[in-house]
């Protein structure tokens, strides 16, 4: 199984914990790490479960809840906020029919708010998975969501 293969790539050193978490999450179809994942990592690294859990829950990029196929991360740090990210958020919520932190029932999208993505030159901005979208307008946003819904990406 996948988890075993990923663990095999690593030396059993505690400083590999974060990278293993990254890898296991990337391999999950629902973009998260499960309790069993964390238990097995703890055994593999010889760490208490609490240490693995503590680390996994600390970082906002690692999720313990199943997430949609696409994770939308809208930036609401001061530069994007100033350039109108709040009204973009309103439209996102309306288009997707979910609130921040929730996943659409069809498991296609999860909506998250993120801290600064470092692309403030094109604020307001968001990331969908690894892709960055900037200079967002209501019209542009609706088209992007439509494209993802129809699989045109």
């Amino acid at each position: 199984m996948k988890r075993k293969e990923i663990l095999r790539k690593y030396e059993a050193k505690p400083d590999n914990l974060l990278y293993i978490l990254h890898d296991i999450q990337d391999a999950s179809p629902y973009n998260y790490v499960t309790e069993e994942d964390m238990e097995e990592i703890a055994d593999f690294l010889g760490l208490p479960y609490s240490k693995v859990y503590g680390t996994a829950t600390f970082y906002s990029m690692i999720s313990q809840k199943p997430r949609g196929k696409h994770v939308i991360r809208l930036c609401d740090s001061p530069p994007c906020h100033l350039m109108g990210s709040e009204s973009i958020l309103d439209i996102l919520k309306e288009e997707l029919g979910i609130d921040v932190g929730q996943t659409t029932p069809d498991m296609l999208f999860t909506l998250e708010i993120t801290s600064c993505l470092g692309v403030c030159g094109v604020a307001p901005a968001m990331m969908i998975d690894e892709e960055v979208f900037g200079n967002l307008t209501p019209k542009k946003l609706r088209k992007i969501i439509k494209d993802y819904r129809e699989g045109n990406v």
């Binding site: 505690p14 680390t55 030159g121 901005a125 900037g134």
Partner: protein
């Protein structure tokens, strides 16, 4: 063999990639091949040219013409009109004034005077994925010089004399930091590059890594030699995928050329580098939190002392420096500390890279001498304020300060800003016009701190949550004078009791907001009204 007559430099960075730079590039290559021009016109991928929010950017050399907002449909016109007939396509030309960002790093002396590029000297001009191009512009010469002609102590003295101060925010003298670690006998020692750029509005380090990653690697190797480290880590935030891949390639190329690895330049010095990827935590920009994260755990800060210079990564002596700081090192070694000291002000030497954004006509990245005024940065380099009059600028990110109109002529460096209790910080300048609301921004910033607090110490864990809820009350039209008073006293208490800079920071932003915009805040409290119609007052009176 045909002769190259023109170069098309196309900027490939996160911003232009969003705008479809790859599509434009492949269309360009396709049309050049179709017209049989591939041998005469060379397409070069570069890092950023400093122009943001203007789509795909390309520069034609030697004509010195910059095009912005280029789409694949425009490519044929550029090829047939400009590249074949020599007539620039006016409608796509960058219309910013000549003294702005990108134009000013060309070779002409007059233009160079306007922006003084040290860190970004090569960015936008060389292919960041080619080690040969970096070597062609004197790359790795400083490392060779350091290893073969200088002792480690001499390198530290040069950096001390240069007056270089940390560009991550705190401004601690770099040479002094190195001198604490260098004499320690406790090996191994480590050099760590802090590339966990999380301060809102800051992306200079990303553009340095995307535009000229070898400069950082060279700077780190020199630093390692000076302090006696054989191993280095670059901790890059997880969201910066292009920085990670470019820097990774640069490390591999440097290894292949023997510029990293065993016995560099035939000396006894060996050094190697590894990239570590962050996972989205602002607090990891704090050096001890970063070290904890490197060790694989939660990114909680440690109690200092002991400082990382003595007990850092795996309890070994560790120097942590910012990307921009390290990228200054090769030029200092190559041109000498006196040259470096001749730039900037007496106590803040060299240049500073700023990201300027928000309500300005030309958001982007600039590198200017320390001591340049905020007015010059906004009006000369960023094309002035957009959509209304200047209200204020948030300088230094969330951990920074609001500066209003009366502060426009303050010289931007560590000490002059320090006189006004403000900070240079990370170099982010967020310009706000009159249409923006200070309460809305303050609430947004305090939410950020609440969200990013790591929870280790109570002043910050409880304080940041309390500050946000107070600001939210004012934002919602439910605040009182006492709430504002409490924000001031609480943040002041946090500034002296919190374990790290995160909990200490809200003080500055709250106090400068109140100092310059007390009336506006009190309007929200006493009249329950947001004159800018931004704050959501839950049915209370609106303008």
């Amino acid at each position: 063999m045909s002769l190259i007559t023109k170069y098309v430099l196309i900027s490939i960075d996160e911003d232009t990639l969003i705008a479809g730079a790859r599509k434009v590039e492949s269309e360009l290559n396709r049309i050049l091949a179709e017209q049989g021009l591939s041998g005469e016109i060379m397409v070069v991928e570069t890092g950023t040219m400093g122009i943001m929010g203007k789509g795909v950017v390309m520069l034609i050399q030697p004509d010195d013409v910059t095009y912005v907002n280029v789409t694949p449909e425009d490519v044929r016109e550029i090829v047939s009109e400009h590249l074949l007939k020599g007539r620039p396509v006016k409608r796509l030309q960058f219309t910013g004034k000549v003294d702005q960002s990108v134009i000013s790093f060309r070779e002409t002396a007059q233009e160079l005077k306007k922006q003084n590029r040290v860190v970004l000297a090569n960015s936008g001009l060389i292919d960041p994925e080619s080690i040969d191009e970096y070597i062609a512009v004197n790359g790795y010469e400083a490392l060779g010089k350091a290893l073969t002609a200088h002792k480690p102590e001499e390198i530290i003295d040069m950096v001390k004399t240069s007056g270089l101060r940390g560009r991550g925010g705190a401004g601690f003298p770099t040479g002094l930091k190195w001198s604490f670690t260098a004499p320690l006998k406790n090996t191994p020692k480590y050099i760590v590059c802090n590339a966990d750029e999380g301060e809102p509005g800051t992306f200079k380090d990303r553009l340095i890594m995307e535009g000229d990653p070898h400069k950082l690697i060279e700077g780190m190797a020199i630093a390692a030699y000076a302090i006696g480290a054989e191993k280095g880590f670059i901790y890059i935030r997880g969201e910066y995928s292009l920085s990670i891949s470019r820097t990774q390639k640069a490390i591999e190329d440097a290894r292949a050329y023997g510029l990293l690895g065993k016995n560099i330049f035939g000396t006894s010095f060996s050094f190697d580098l590894e990239i570590k990827k962050g996972a989205g935590a602002y607090v990891c920009g704090e050096e001890t939190a970063l070290i904890n994260s490197l060790e694989g755990g939660r990114g909680n800060p440690r109690v200092k002392p002991p400082f990382p210079g003595v007990k850092g990564l795996w309890q070994q002596p560790t120097v942590v420096n910012n990307v921009e700081t390290l990228s200054n090192i090769p030029s200092i070694i190559l041109n000498g500390p006196d040259w470096f000291k001749s730039i900037g002000t007496e106590k803040s030497t060299g240049t500073k890279v700023y990201t300027i954004l928000g309500h300005v006509n030309n958001p982007g990245l600039i590198e200017v001498e320390m001591g340049t005024t905020l007015r010059d940065i906004i009006y000369k380099y960023a094309g002035g304020v957009k959509g209304g009059k200047f209200k204020c600028a948030l300088v230094g990110g969330a951990a920074g300060a609001f500066l209003n109109e009366e502060m426009l002529d303050v010289r931007m460096d560590y000490d002059h800003l320090g006189e006004y209790k403000a900070v240079l910080g990370s170099g982010a300048i967020l310009v706000m016009n009159e249409e923006s609301c200070i309460v809305d921004m303050l609430r947004n910033i305090l939410f950020f701190f609440k969200h990013e607090s790591c929870g280790k110490c109570s002043p910050c864990r409880i304080g940041t949550a309390q500050l946000y809820s107070l600001a939210d009350k004012i934002y919602s039209g439910k605040g009182s004078d006492e709430d504002l008073e409490q924000m001031l006293t609480l943040s002041e208490a946090m500034s002296t009791t919190a374990l790290c800079a995160l909990g200490q920071s809200p003080y500055l932003v709250i106090h400068t907001a109140v100092r310059f915009f007390q009336d506006e805040i009190e309007e929200h409290i006493r009249r329950k009204v947001c004159m800018k119609d931004i704050c959501r007052m839950n049915g209370a009176e609106r303008r």
